[in-house]
Amino acid sequence: MNVVSQLVNGLALGAGYALLAVGWTVLLSAARLVNFAHGQLYMLGAFVTWFATTRFGLPYLVAIPVALVAVAALAVVLQLLMTRLTLDQNIVSLMLVTLAFGYLLQGGAGLIFGGDPQIIDSPFQRQDLSLGGARFTGQDVVIIVLALVLYAVAFYVLGRTNVGRMVRGVAEDPKLAQLYGIDAGRVYLVVFVFSAVCAALAGAVVAPRSPILTSIGFEEVIITFLVVVLAGIGNLIGGLVVGMGLGLFTAVFGTYFPPAYSTAAAFVLLLVVLVVRPQGLKAR
């Protein structure tokens, strides 16, 4: 395999990782919240898309918004259940509750969607493109563009708008935010739903590259954790860079070693980073 094709491969892979991580990064940086059900929301995004295309015969591009709305509605319910824990900033309970939600969602998805692997039929997946000898699909392009757009939007909204300032204020001190007239509970709800929709979107566009199972959420979320911890907690731009870097690493690693071990290799890398720089790669 030549260098260009490895590069393209890695970028497409990495953009997928970054896309999966963007919601989590915003949740963490903006609200100091964690969500261990993130992977299951990704899984649901993929499966609702699949369900809408196969059962209702909707075109792929119509099925995606359906999946996003479904997951958003679910996220509203989950966050309303957790409102008190979030306002108390009870991170330990939040981790455990979201972990439980994730497991519950996986069981529910198993009942609804069955245990067989499925394939999301995306028209972009059938478009074969090539560039300088590298072969890739239209889906890869969609993923890269979407990742860049989402990070740009998140960066702009958080940094430059009043909504972003409110979110950052709540992240720094939810109690103090109340004195600024900000309803912290509502800000948490908005951020959580945004994060969930990002996960669902990642599921809808990244998952067509390979068969999906209701258990994928469990494993997919690990990439998110690696990206988030390596980048440094809540470092948005770092998330994009590390996600892309991890994609390139995986692509290169996969050409020399069994690809099954690439995540493990990335994890060893993470452990080394943690020992040397516990705060991640973030500058400050």
């Binding site: 964690v34 261990f36 259940l81 957790m82 824990l85 991170i91 330990v92 309970s93 981790m95 455990l96 509750v97 972990l99 439980a100 939600f101 994730g102 497991y103 519950l104 969602l105 996986q106 069981g107 529910g108 198993g110 009942l111 245990g115 469990f218 494993e219 690990i222 954790f225 690696l226 988030v228 911890v229 907690i233 069994p258 099954a260 071990y261 995540t263 493990a264 994890f267 993470l270 452990l271 943690l274 020992v275 516990p278 705060q279």
Partner: protein, 342 residues
């Protein structure tokens, strides 16, 4: 057994705990002994079918598995999501040395404990300086990556696992004690369960246990009082791992095979729920939790996916409705009754 025994939090003043019912130490020890004998007879009293024996053996094994998480979650206040790694390490080490090298159970146990301790030490030291929930993220990642590695490593049997773990045999006075059935495995499981409960009871009263609790309640204060919080954290983490590995060791014999499903979220959720559902920091809490969950799964299973909903739902409901678990509901009820009487 009264609820007072279940309900005494470890942070209650020791004098109050010791003289609570004015019982001398000997009487208390006798009470515990009666409890153990009753537990031993329980499956026979319940009819003695293989299904009952399998259930009680699994309760003992899963309780031991959960005690590992309990030590970290209840006393250190950290959420380890990596204990399935130790659970699997215990079981896989046992399978490897017994199937490939023909070791007997006790050397296999030592090997399991050794391997797990090293793993825990590595993970504990790597996460030594991490803040907040990064510890949980990293331990979670460790467990899931353990899963992908095990699934893809031929020497560990790949996704099929390792089959043919021999029958459990111990040297005994009249030759050997062979545990072919769950009924024959039950005394062994009970003995180790009692040992684990004694270990946890000892830990709760130990210097390390009280230090861990202090570090959890107020890390800054503990530091100011000269407690090395990081060292405490690693020590407790490393102590907890072999407890879970011990359960994995016995599980390998009970099931006679090991497979990557040991690293699945099912066991992770089980351990956490078994600790949280009865209420944290109760000596017998994980045992009660394991008994409730195992009974549901063994005797009233609704099928794989529905059981997931039950387990996830129970954990979520406990955390959202009564963070102090069942004991919290019980205490609130008792208080209400007392209040009404007044």
């Amino acid at each position: 057994m009264t609820t007072a025994d279940l309900g005494t939090p470890v942070d209650a003043p020791p004098s109050a705990a010791g003289n609570r019912r004015g019982l001398p130490g000997a009487a208390r020890a006798l009470g515990w002994l009666v409890l153990v004998v009753l537990a031993y007879l329980l499956p026979t009293l319940l009819g003695g079918s293989d299904r009952i024996f399998a259930t009680v053996v699994l309760i003992a094994i899963f309780a031991m598995m959960s005690y590992g998480v309990d030590i970290v979650l209840s006393y250190l206040g950290e959420v380890s999501l990596g204990h399935t790694l130790f659970w699997a390490a215990g079981a896989y080490t046992t399978a490897l040395v017994t199937v490939n090298a023909g070791w007997s159970p006790l050397p296999a146990l030592l090997a399991s404990v050794a391997v797990t301790t090293v793993l825990a030490l590595l993970l504990g030291l790597a996460t030594l300086r991490t803040r907040e929930f990064v510890f949980s993220l990293v331990t979670y990642a460790a467990a899931i990556i353990g899963l992908t590695v095990v699934q893809n490593t031929g020497a560990l049997g790949g996704s099929d696992g390792i089959v043919g773990v021999p029958v459990f045999e111990l040297p005994a006075v009249d030759g050997t004690y062979v545990a072919r059935t769950n009924a024959e495995l039950w005394p062994i499981a009970l003995v180790f369960l009692v040992l684990v409960v004694l270990l946890v009871a000892r830990f709760r009263r130990s210097r390390l246990g009280t230090t861990a609790l202090m570090a959890q309640m107020n890390g800054d204060l503990a530091t100011a009082m000269g407690v090395d919080v990081r060292r405490t954290r690693v020590l407790v983490f490393v102590l907890s791992a072999p407890v879970t590995a011990l359960a994995g060791w016995l599980y390998a014999y009970q099931r006679s095979y090991v497979s990557p499903d040991l690293l699945s979220p099912t066991f992770l959720l089980f351990m956490l729920t078994a600790v949280i559902l009865p209420g944290r920091r109760l000596l017998l809490g994980p045992l009660v939790g394991a008994a409730l969950l195992t009974s549901q799964q063994q005797l009233a299973s609704l099928g794989g996916d529905a059981d997931k909903i039950v387990l996830g739902g129970v954990l979520a409901a406990a955390l959202l409705l009564s963070p102090d678990g069942l004991i919290g509901i019980w205490r609130a009820a008792v208080q209400r009754v007392r209040g009404n009487r007044r």
